[in-house]
């Protein structure tokens, strides 16, 4: 094919004018320097990456450079980056943007990320890659700035929507792209209508979960690559979940997806040192916890609510009070007063929190930065108060914080205070690898959420071994959970990424719901134990099965 040859003649007029007016002429030296400058910017080959040599302070890992090269040369700039958590997808994306910009293939870039990550992306691109990215704050930014970072939620809303859809983007990057798996959502349709030459979708969650999800994600990138919806279903689907022609599908997907695994990177990962603490309730706490059963027996609450209350009571009486008070108000009638009274009394009688005491002890022992995770806002507040009372300053961290506040809290934690108390919602997307101690004050029931917590500190850039402290109250729902996660499926020693592979493989994404069912439907402690044992053996079986499969396939490159 003959390429189109195009001469830029836009400078002719001004050159003629210089001749006509006899100047102003450049100095000889500057004429030579301009030539040298352009020589410096000339990229003489189609292949290879220039970007790393222009970023002498970055020191990217070999797998990151290789990923950037594969995306540009083999995937032609349209790819899903699906590295495991903490392997530096942002670095890979940055390298790709940089390479394209140096070569002059990309000028206008749109980066869509969760709102909480906007500033982090902006600062990483600017400081690590010298890419002049700006956060979208004013409407004019869309058209005036070349590299814009925004949340999808902002971009898809009027008045932004029309302006954004009007831009011709050279490159679009979408972080946390697994959120776009449903083609019927506004977000999906919005992204689909963007004008783009190159496109990167970043996700840490492998998308083998539902077959249709992978179809729609790939179709966003390359419509038709997996056929249309109908032919895709015909070729690869059998039933609602099962896959046909799996090998073929895998091979196809691997041509548009890069997935680096921890074990393949050849990097030395810091160890995880996990300690579990089984902490007995104080007498008062035990009395309160036990009294909650009565609410269920009297039919005031459903089994599900009891479970919620029990979990809260394991955390702090403050957390339980919020829910308890709500139920009390809903069911208020004079007849029930007599039942409620002793319960509140028992709650008030609690003078100390056994887990908080242990936490304080740990913090004092550790004598270094500590992150505490709790599921409850009330507990978060209580812990901050409790620690302050004992002379330890802390900062809070919630998912609901504005971006600027999140950054501020992170800075405070890094530079000023010893402890950061985060709620679950704060778990995603912040990097805290300057800390290496993490206390799980209470445990989420979904193992993936624990992975995300640990992923905040066990990631590239972590130089020390990572210490994880799990607290559970003895003889409660919590200790069952800890036993399941810790002793039965050895969650905490797992390599990140293995777990989600296992869970997706057995279609057990909602482990937390499964666990909740077990608690709600079981009549006795014994029954709970048996059922949890079953669950763990299913997971363990799959795990052994998969690792066997891995060792068989070790020779091949999938």
């Amino acid at each position: 094919m003959k390429p189109i040859i195009h001469f830029d003649r836009s400078w002719y007029e001004s050159f003629f004018k210089h001749i006509e007016e006899d100047g102003p002429w450049a100095k000889s030296e500057l004429f030579s320097l301009a030539y040298l400058a352009e020589q410096e910017r000339t990229v003489p080959t189609f292949h290879g990456l220039i970007a790393p040599s222009r970023l002498p302070l970055l020191k990217p890992h070999p797998h990151q450079v290789e990923t950037a090269r594969i995306v540009i040369e083999e995937m032609h700039g349209k790819a899903i980056l699906a590295d495991e958590v903490g392997l530096g997808k942002t670095i890979e994306a940055g390298l790709i943007i940089k390479e394209y910009m140096i070569r002059g293939l990309v000028k206008k870039v749109l980066i869509l990320v969760p709102a909480s990550l906007v500033l982090q992306w902006v600062s990483e691109l600017n400081s690590k890659f010298y890419i002049p990215a700006v956060p979208q704050r004013k409407t004019y930014v869309w058209s005036q700035c070349d590299v814009v970072v925004s949340s999808i939620d902002t971009a898809k809303r009027e008045p932004h929507r029309d302006i954004v859809l009007d831009q011709d983007y050279d490159l679009i990057i979408i972080d946390e792209a697994h959120k776009l798996k449903n083609h019927k959502t506004k977000n999906y349709q919005f992204v689909q209508s963007l004008k783009k030459k190159f496109c990167l979708l970043l996700t840490a969650t492998p998308i083998q979960n539902r077959l249709s999800e992978i179809f729609y994600l790939v179709s966003l990138l390359k419509p038709g690559y997996l056929g249309d919806a109908e032919s895709f279903a015909k070729n690869y689907k059998s039933g609602s979940h099962a896959v046909r022609n799996e090998e073929k599908l895998k091979a196809l997907v691997n041509q548009v997806m890069v997935r680096n695994r921890r074990e393949d990177t050849g990097l030395r990962w810091p160890k995880r040192i996990v300690k579990a603490y089984d902490i007995p309730f104080s007498m008062a706490e035990k009395a309160f916890y036990d009294s909650l059963f009565e609410l269920k027996e009297r039919g005031l609450i459903q089994p599900f609510s009891l479970l919620t209350l029990q979990r809260e009571a394991c955390s702090s009486r403050e957390a339980a009070f919020t829910t308890l008070n709500k139920i009390y108000k809903e069911t208020a009638c004079p007849m029930n007063e007599r039942l409620w009274h002793p319960i509140f009394e028992k709650m008030n009688a609690i003078k100390q929190n056994a887990k908080a005491k242990k936490t304080l002890e740990l913090i004092q022992q550790i004598n270094d930065k500590v992150i505490i995770f709790t599921e409850y806002r009330a507990t978060q507040l209580f812990l901050q108060w409790f620690l302050k009372k004992n002379g330890i300053s802390s900062v809070p961290f919630n998912g609901g914080f504005k971006r600027s506040k999140k950054d501020w809290m992170r800075m405070l934690f890094q530079n000023k205070v010893q402890v950061l108390v985060a709620t679950e919602a704060g778990g995603e997307g912040i990097n805290l690898q300057f800390a290496s101690h993490l206390i799980n004050y209470d445990l989420p029931w979904n193992p993936m959420r624990i992975e995300q917590r640990i992923g905040r500190i066990h990631r590239l850039g972590q130089e020390k071994d990572v210490h994880i402290y799990n607290l559970a109250t003895r003889g409660t729902v919590e200790s069952h959970i800890l036993n399941l996660l810790y002793n039965k499926i050895h969650l905490f020693e797992q390599v990140i990424g293995d777990l989600d592979r296992i869970l997706t493989h057995i279609d057990l994404k909602d482990v937390d719901k499964q666990v909740a069912h077990i608690f709600e439907e079981s009549e006795s402690e014994g029954e709970i134990k048996v059922k949890l044992d079953n669950l763990s053996s299913v997971i363990n079986f799959e795990q052994n099965h998969l690792s066997e499969g891995d060792s068989h396939a070790a020779g091949g490159n999938s």
Partner: protein
């Protein structure tokens, strides 16, 4: 550019733009320069300061830039091949070194007649979803139409001056600048046509493959949606092989006819 080359480049750039180089402890790894007013305005991006100073008529204090080229030095701004400051300076030099007119200074007074040459330095970019470029420096003698490739490297060996030296005169061009430009373009185009287009063939194959997938995706839709048209256009932008020729800088040079060795000359 290696660090030493960057050092050399900055040295030349600031000297020729009349900024004052300040003494440093280690002149291998450091460079300190006090900017002139014009360079401050060009590089420091502080229009409010200048507006203010000029309004009140105060004596401005121009900025001092302090660069370091290695880790050994603590103080100063680390400058390297990717640093934004360097690229700002590269931009500035391209802007300041765009059009030129020079006369050759004769070492031996052979003939006082200087012949007019048109010099065009261009960047030729080969682009599909990948890109590479090369620099092409062309010189055209405006009397007999002699064309030389690699003109800039010849210029680098000559002694040139901005003023017409005494006892010298310039010969009148027979070829206008306009038709000179056309001749150079024509030459480059015919050279480009002779090149190997394998890279473009490969890009076309990739393009075609993706286009077929796209067509299959919308095969069952009688009325193709707007998205189809948009995706199709996007593929064109991604893969369409093209060669772009852009200007680096251009100039008029008046040179002695003996300035060139015969083997450099190509007759056209």
């Amino acid at each position: 550019m290696q660090q030493a080359e960057i050092h050399d480049f900055l040295n030349r750039f600031f000297s020729s733009s009349e900024c004052e180089l300040l003494p440093v402890a280690d002149d291998h790894d450091q460079l300190k320069v006090k900017l002139t007013k014009a360079m401050d305005k060009l590089l420091m991006n502080r229009p409010f300061y200048w507006h203010y100073i000029e309004q009140i008529g105060a004596e401005p204090e121009t900025a001092v830039l302090n660069f370091r080229f290695s880790d050994r030095i603590q103080e100063g701004e680390f400058i390297h091949s990717g640093s934004p400051r360097l690229h700002q300076i590269l931009d500035a030099s391209e802007k300041m070194g765009r059009y030129i007119r020079m006369y050759q200074v004769l070492a031996n007074k052979l003939s006082p007649a200087l012949e007019p040459w048109l010099c065009i330095n261009m960047k030729i970019s080969y682009q599909c979803d990948l890109k590479k470029d090369r620099i092409c420096s062309m010189g055209l003698q405006l009397i007999n139409g002699t064309m030389i490739e690699g003109f800039q490297s010849v210029l680098n060996t000559l002694h040139l001056s901005q003023k017409l030296p005494d006892y010298c005169y310039t010969l009148r061009p027979l070829i206008t600048i306009k038709s000179g430009l056309a001749r150079i373009e024509h030459f480059i185009e015919s050279e480009l046509q002779k090149e190997n287009f394998e890279w473009a063939d490969h890009a076309a194959t990739r393009w075609d493959k993706d286009l077929q997938l796209l067509n299959a995706f919308y095969e069952h839709q009688e009325e193709k949606p707007e998205r189809y048209v948009q995706e199709k256009q996007a593929l064109k932008e991604q893969y369409q092989p093209q060669i772009k020729v852009t200007l680096i800088n251009a100039g008029l040079f008046f040179l002695q006819s003996a300035a060139f060795l015969p083997d450099l000359i190509k007759d056209h």
